[in-house]
Amino acid sequence: MTGPDPAPHEDQVRRLLADARHDAPVPEDVADRLDAVLADLAREERPRAVTDLAAARRRRARIRTVLVAAAAVVLVGFGISRVDLSGSSSDSSSAGSAADSSAAQENSAAAPSAPPDADLPQGALAAPVRLTSGRLEQQVRRLVDTTQAFASGTAGDTQSRAEDSSAACGDPSGPGTPIVATYDGAPAVLVLRPRAGGVQVADVYLCGERTPVRSVTVPVG
């Protein structure tokens, strides 16, 4: 790194860092773990037998019913008129109630005109799920935990919700379950990818964008 006035000892620090470089290959336990996860991922992607399509349609219909019930539980349980995952509940495990209250304030200030809710979903949560950049991971985890039916997130589910998310926001690529959302107040789609290796990836797409603006990985199971 060049500069007009390098800090004293900068070169020495750089040499010490270089000397501390890790040269060994990935350990066997880690390699085995990664290979196992790759195998799971590859198995998921294999095309299903034709005879499974009818079962997939029946499963989507069941999941739709479960989502309606789950959304009703969420709405009743939180006693709110719209889905709000801003983390203002007391079970947050993150540092400090100050963060929670500030996030709640941020959310309420950011979306004073959020759509009124109470319509039960017809294929997904009725109101957009509200996501914020500062608490995205916690919000996704809460969403995954609350609506367990989302956890499978198979490719077949994507099709059943396509009309909801595409009508709202376009059609993000890849397998997964899209959920209409807002992200820091902007229209967005949250896509829960099929879980693998005990984790689930969730991608946030702003409307009109073809690449995710943010991606988080949460543990499941």
Binding site: R15, L17, P25, L34, T217
Partner: protein, 225 residues
């Protein structure tokens, strides 16, 4: 080794097209360097394994978003580093005071670099080992973004421009993070630096020679010399 001679971009394209083995071949090709970055960024074996796995899954899922404007390795590093930083920001890490355990991985050259002689003085090896532990403990105290920048620039030897692509930030930001990180390390490592001032022969090996600026090519990268 599978002997697959397809380029990185060909493998990634094959994966997107439905080749179920292509991504694994690609990832295994670069896994060692990605592990090194994850390990030095996270500071311990378990968190590094978690971060690397998260990054691998994210890259697998988001392969279709790769646009070819950077080398595949740059893109893989970006995904893995971001996964590691996500874990750190979310607090899903062990205490970073844990001493680096890779120094105990015998038989793989962890304690002896390529330019050491075969008959290394055990006392010298122990001294070097201790110096590395001290450096890594100091590195672990830095903010995650500074740590990641120093790992990529000073440890792995990537050019600032490429690290900027990996971290998805301007090159000036990478330089600033490196500068602040080095300044902080200079304070923390003052005893080592003073000892080196007294003994100019004991300054550790030179910085790795940075590789040539990376075109968006598919040639696999080797470690810095």
């Amino acid at each position: 080794m599978t002997g697959d001679e397809r380029s990185d971009q060909e493998l990634l394209a094959a994966h997107v097209s439905g080749d179920h083995d292509a991504f694994g071949t690609l990832f295994r090709r670069h896994r060692d360097r990605l592990w090194a970055v994850a390990l030095r960024t996270m500071g311990n074996h378990e968190d590094a394994a978690d971060g690397l796995q998260d990054g691998m899954i994210a890259a697998y899922r988001r392969a279709a978003s790769y646009r070819g404007d950077a080398a595949v390795t740059t893109w893989l590093h970006r995904v893995v580093v971001n996964a590691c930083l996500d874990r750190i920001r979310a607090g899903k890490v062990r205490r970073t005071e844990a001493l680096p355990d890779d120094l105990d991985e015998g038989g793989r050259g962890a304690l002896v670099s390529a330019d050491q002689t075969a008959a290394a003085d055990p006392a010298e090896v122990a001294l070097r080992d201790e110096r590395r532990r001290t450096v890594l403990a100091a590195l672990a105290t830095l903010p995650a973004e500074q740590r990641a920048a120093l790992v990529l620039v000073d440890m792995e030897g990537y050019p600032v421009s490429e690290v900027a692509a990996m971290l998805d930030c301007p090159a000036g930001t990478v330089k600033s993070r490196c500068s602040r990180g080095r300044a902080r390390l200079a304070e923390l490592l003052a005893p080592l630096l003073e000892a080196a001032d007294r003994d100019p022969d004991d300054t550790g090996r030179r910085n790795p020679v940075p590789p040539a600026p990376v075109e968006p090519s598919d040639a696999p990268r080797g470690p810095p010399a």
